[in-house]
């Protein structure tokens, strides 16, 4: 076996693995039976987390019951950032490997992610008024999340801005990849600059500065929000695949007859 062929084999395997999961029909067969369960779990966890946070979570010693806004604001912020990270990964898959599902996923992640970012911004603004005396301040964390919201809106607009959908997907993918630089800025903004926004309370590597009775509802609401995001995007992708399939069948029938 030649050296050229030997070096080509791993690349072929990677491509085969990617294309195995890039099949819209396979995606539909995997997702459709799981959707009712995913929807049930996301509703259950989100309702549990929000009701626990709204009705039963203890008040903070400093902020009082205003800290209950945390159970909406923090999960929405985490999902907004994770959604954009997923958008950037899909864009990379689309540009490098022309993954058929990646464009579809990117198109459906945009509106859902923008919605979660809007919830984060509005709830943060409503939390800011009683704590800081202002609905909005131009500090690094707030401004970088506002930029994230505009990046989502730009992606939604750009993907639909061309007559040729492939051109729209390519331009939007480049925007999503360039915009990914904003994610570390959001995360580290409270460390790099002197911000009015509080520092990171929860740490996955060290000890968290949050009491356990507040942490549990926060984690449940967060898992509920993440699962809701995943369910919504999967359902929208499945719907988009079925819409395209119906359109293609109609076109094929029209060409035959």
């Amino acid at each position: 076996m030649s050296e050229k062929l030997l070096t080509a084999m791993p690349a072929q395997r990677t491509g085969a693995w990617l294309h195995h999961f890039a099949n819209p029909g396979r995606f539909l067969r995997l997702v459709q039976p799981a959707l009712p369960w995913a929807a049930a779990f996301s509703i259950g966890l989100t309702v549990t987390g929000l009701v626990w946070g709204f009705c039963f979570a203890p008040a903070d010693w400093e902020q009082g019951i205003a800290s209950r806004i945390m159970y909406v604001h923090v999960p929405a912020a985490w999902v907004a950032m994770a959604g954009y990270a997923a958008l950037a990964v899909c864009s990379l898959l689309s540009i490098v490997w022309r993954h058929p599902l990646a464009d579809l996923a990117a198109e459906e992640i945009g509106p859902v992610g923008a919605g979660f970012t809007a919830v984060c911004l509005v709830s943060g603004s409503l939390w800011g008024k009683p704590m800081w005396g202002a609905y909005w301040v131009w500090d690094a964390r707030l401004t970088s999340v506002l930029v994230l919201f505009f990046l989502y809106l730009g992606h939604i607009a750009l993907i639909r801005a061309f007559d040729n959908p492939a051109h729209g997907h390519r331009a939007a993918a480049i925007l999503a990849l360039v915009g990914a630089v904003n994610l570390p800025i959001i995360v580290f903004s409270v460390q790099w600059w002197n911000t009015l926004h509080q520092g990171n309370t929860i740490s996955f590597s060290g000890s968290s500065k949050i009491y356990i009775t507040m942490l549990y509802p926060l984690l449940i609401a967060s898992v509920g929000f993440y699962l809701s995001f995943l369910t919504l995007v999967s359902a929208r992708m499945a719907a988009a695949i079925m819409e395209r399939r119906a359109r293609n069948l109609l076109v094929a029938a029209a060409e035959r007859g």
Binding site: L35, A39, T46, L50, F54, G64, I65, A66, R68, I69, V72, H73, A76, P111, V112, G115, F116, A118, V119, V122, S123, L126, W127, K129, P130, S228, L232, A235, R236, A238, A239, A240, M242, E243, R245, A246, L249, L250, A253
Partner: protein, 42 residues
């Protein structure tokens, strides 16, 4: 300062968004399933 309107408002925005996008997604999904089934029956 009465904090209740700020808390109610933030939960209200989240619930309206989640219920709204959930309902829109469900309606779109159901319409797509029905449309594909109708086209495949032709």
């Amino acid at each position: 300062m009465d904090l209740a309107p700020f808390i109610d408002g933030s939960y209200g925005v989240a619930v309206v968004f989640l219920v709204g996008i959930g309902a829109l997604t469900y309606l779109r999904y159901r319409r797509a399933v029905r449309r594909l089934a109708a086209v495949e029956r032709r």
